[in-house]
């Protein structure tokens, strides 16, 4: 059976991409036979990347890619190679920050997710002057990570949404005694991407979606059939101005 991929433009907002992903996810979850999705019709590679993650969940799903590197999907240990591909563009002066962002996302997955699968996506969109970064895992979710360590349980009153709130506020499950040395990855990058650079930052974990840009912020409790067992972080990073100094914010 073929699933008709929703038409999403290459320059669609992160919100529009996520909406199309959820519509597809909900539809696919209802199929009982094997499904094939053709990506040839889609202009939006971030959406294709997100849909490809469903292959982890549904063994019956096949995403036909138009070329091997169509989605810029990379193994976590190859992220620096992916970044090298955009090093000689207008982003050359911002590579220190892109490394900081991707390093922290990789470390979060390795330290906390307990996942079987994980991967990253880094793609430069020159028309929009942005770099889209996405990291995904099929692990225990942020909520599961706090529960496993039995930390901050009293603050988890709203399940996955509360867990995302804790993570974005820098509450780590692995602080050392008498030091708050962990939990900077999400909190500092969220601030830099949205408040400082005016981009979009989104965290999708379990049954909750957090999405923030410079103007608005939403924490959404999702329908049960689009629950994600794991965590997906998306950052749309606008080209930083020449005056940007990341050390002022970390």
């Amino acid at each position: 059976m073929h699933y008709e991929l929703p038409h999403v433009k290459a320059d669609a907002s992160v919100e529009a991409v996520l909406n199309s992903f959820f519509v597809a996810y909900e539809s696919i979850s209802k199929f009982e036979e094997s499904i094939v999705i053709d990506n040839h019709k889609s202009e939006n590679s971030l959406l294709c990347f997100l849909l490809s993650l469903l292959e982890w969940k549904y063994n019956t799903l096949t995403l036909r890619k138009s070329s091997d590197d169509a989605f810029n999907v990379v193994e976590l240990n190859s992220i620096s190679d992916a970044l090298k591909r955009i090093e000689n563009t207008q982003w050359s002066k911002s590579m220190v920050y892109l490394h900081y962002l991707t390093d922290e996302m990789v470390c979060n997955i390795q330290q906390h997710s307990c996942s079987k699968h994980s991967c990253g996506y880094v793609k430069c969109n020159n028309e929009m002057n942005v770099v889209d970064v996405c990291f995904a895992d099929d692990g225990i979710s942020i909520h599961g990570s706090y529960v496993e360590k039995e930390l901050y349980l009293e603050k988890l009153t709203e399940g996955d949404a509360s867990a995302i709130s804790l993570a974005k506020n820098g509450y780590s499950t692995k602080d050392r005694p008498f030091a708050e040395n962990r939990g900077f990855g999400i909190s500092t990058n969220l601030k830099i991407v949205t408040d400082v650079l005016g981009g979009t930052f989104s965290i999708y974990s379990g049954k909750a979606l957090y999405i923030k840009d410079k103007q608005s912020v939403k924490m959404i409790d999702l329908p049960y059939d689009v629950e994600w067992n794991g965590t997906i972080v998306i950052a749309r990073v606008p080209l930083p101005p020449a005056s940007f100094n990341m050390y002022n914010y970390i």
Binding site: V23, S80, D103, Q110, N169, Y171, A179, Y210, D221, L222
Partner: protein, 111 residues
């Protein structure tokens, strides 16, 4: 006994994960002294820098030397952070409940 450990030779010119630093820590003993020669390390993540800080400030005798400017800057960020109280933004995010796709689409596309 004094040892010099060339980090770039053992790990890489890029040190990203905490695990790689922990793997070096496993080679140390508490009696000897260690110089971690950081020459050749061009890039370090904040997490890896934090882990080096841990190794250099626990019961081992470890000193980091020959740090490249970027590495030194990240080590400074980490060590300053250790003595600063965290300034957390504790504002409560109101949760929007979307029981179905229609309400979810409406919520997402109204941003």
């Amino acid at each position: 006994m004094k040892h010099i450990i060339k980090i770039a030779e053992i790990i890489n010119a890029e040190v990203v994960t905490r695990n790689t630093v922990e793997s070096i820590e496993k080679r140390l003993n508490h009696e000897d002294e260690y110089l971690f020669d950081m020459s050749g390390v061009k890039h370090i993540s904040r997490s890896a820098a934090d882990e080096f800080f841990n190794v250099a400030h626990c019961d081992y005798h470890v000193v980091l030397v020959n740090m490249e400017p970027f590495v030194k800057k990240m080590m400074d960020v980490v060590s300053i952070g250790r003595f600063k109280t965290r300034d957390r933004n504790e504002e409560h995010d109101e949760v929007i409940h979307c029981p179905d796709m229609e309400s979810l689409s409406k919520c997402l596309l109204s941003l």
